[in-house]
Symmetry: C2
Subunit: 230 residues, 2 copies
């Protein structure tokens, strides 16, 4: 069976199969702990044959990361319909889906494990951050972000990463609570910036104006006001 399958598979098809097998293994254990032997065995081919498709484990890792990065970047694409808070919540939900599906691989990559740190892997991670940044910017109806807005968005992206990493470490807080919290964090970071800058204040007011009373942003404002009054 295996020999037959091997004969029939073209180079690109075999590469895709190996990438799929690697991603599947990395979703259950850290890439650092998964050997090339294991990947070969799970794909039903010999280790030497893997080298025919990838020069080594790093190269296969990078190809798998490329595919996962493209997948994640696509999950940030969100239609520009409805209130911003709800859109951000859907994006955040799909981000956590991804983190959930790729747990150990995500931890290893973002936590700076031993398998990572090449300039190519860094560029892929930066590419995903940039994709998220561009998407969020487009939802705010801003073409070129002033420095303070860029800071808020990029800070929030790093907050989403660190929140997801801490969630993976024991899953001690329910995922849906963290997703809502991140959307609240976005509003809070914007509000903090708005407290110091008139343009950010105008943007913040516009964000809130379009929110429904039962949306995640208005929800938060009510809570903050009652905390401040207490």
């Amino acid at each position: 069976m295996r020999t037959g399958a091997r004969r029939r598979m073209g180079v690109e098809e075999r590469r895709q199969q190996l990438i799929g097998v690697a991603l599947e293994l990395f979703s259950r254990r850290s890439p650092d702990e998964v050997s090339l032997d294991e990947i070969a065995s799970a794909a039903g081919i010999s280790r030497p044959l893997v080298y025919h498709y990838f020069p080594g484990k790093l190269s296969l890792y990078e190809a798998a990361l490329k595919q996962a990065s493209d997948d994640l970047a696509n999950r940030f694409v969100e239609s520009r319909e409805g209130p911003l808070g709800a859109r951000l919540l859907r994006m955040t939900h799909r981000f956590f889906d991804f983190v959930d599906e790729h747990g150990p691989g995500f931890s290893e990559l973002m936590g700076g494990g031993p398998a990572v740190g090449s300039s190519r892997t860094n560029a892929l991670v930066e590419g995903v951050r940039q994709a998220a940044y561009v998407q969020i910017l487009s939802h705010l109806d801003v073409d070129t972000a002033p420095a303070r807005l860029e800071l808020v968005i990029r800070s929030w992206i790093s907050l989403a990463e660190s929140t997801a990493l801490l969630w993976l470490d024991g899953r001690r807080i329910p995922r849906d609570e963290l997703e809502l919290q991140l959307v609240h964090d976005f509003a809070a970071l914007t509000a903090v910036s708005a407290a110091q800058d008139a343009d950010m204040a105008a943007l913040f007011r516009k964000m809130l104006a379009d929110e429904p009373r039962e949306g995640p942003f208005s929800d938060l404002v009510g809570h903050l006001v009652s905390l401040a009054d207490a």
Copy 2:
């Protein structure tokens, strides 16, 4: 002169000199762009002699990073006197001093440049984060943090890192504004968590209760309430 100085220096003294020279060069240009030849030349010794003290550039880089990490960790130490907002602001100010002094080296390290990514450098970075975490926890008078508080503190530390990295990239926002903003961000992240959790709400109220009217926390609450009313 140089030969004379070389003869007189002991091994540890010479190592310290090379670390100092390397940190000085890394404060002006990315470690990736600084060659071992340059470090040797700035120290007034030959490149082969550098190998007598460090087996290679990575080893010297790691020793320099160890020294810088210890330095940074010490800057988080803050006396437990006065209101929390003011303490956090002083810690944040010293953190930005460090970032200012080590600009290109900090960017390279935290931005995942090509010179970094070894498990030893990652452990040093994690050690500094842990030092900051333990310090902040002690200022909140909490021994063992519940998961939500740990998330807020660690999230804020990653926010401080990403804010500093973005500041270094063009310095488009005044440093003192960002320091105050980060202290506000700490209050905001705590408030967001407090909106969902009774223990965090109790902690947040305790934080605010001790703040003077003119402190950074109370300042922010006033701004948020007026933003919400607008």
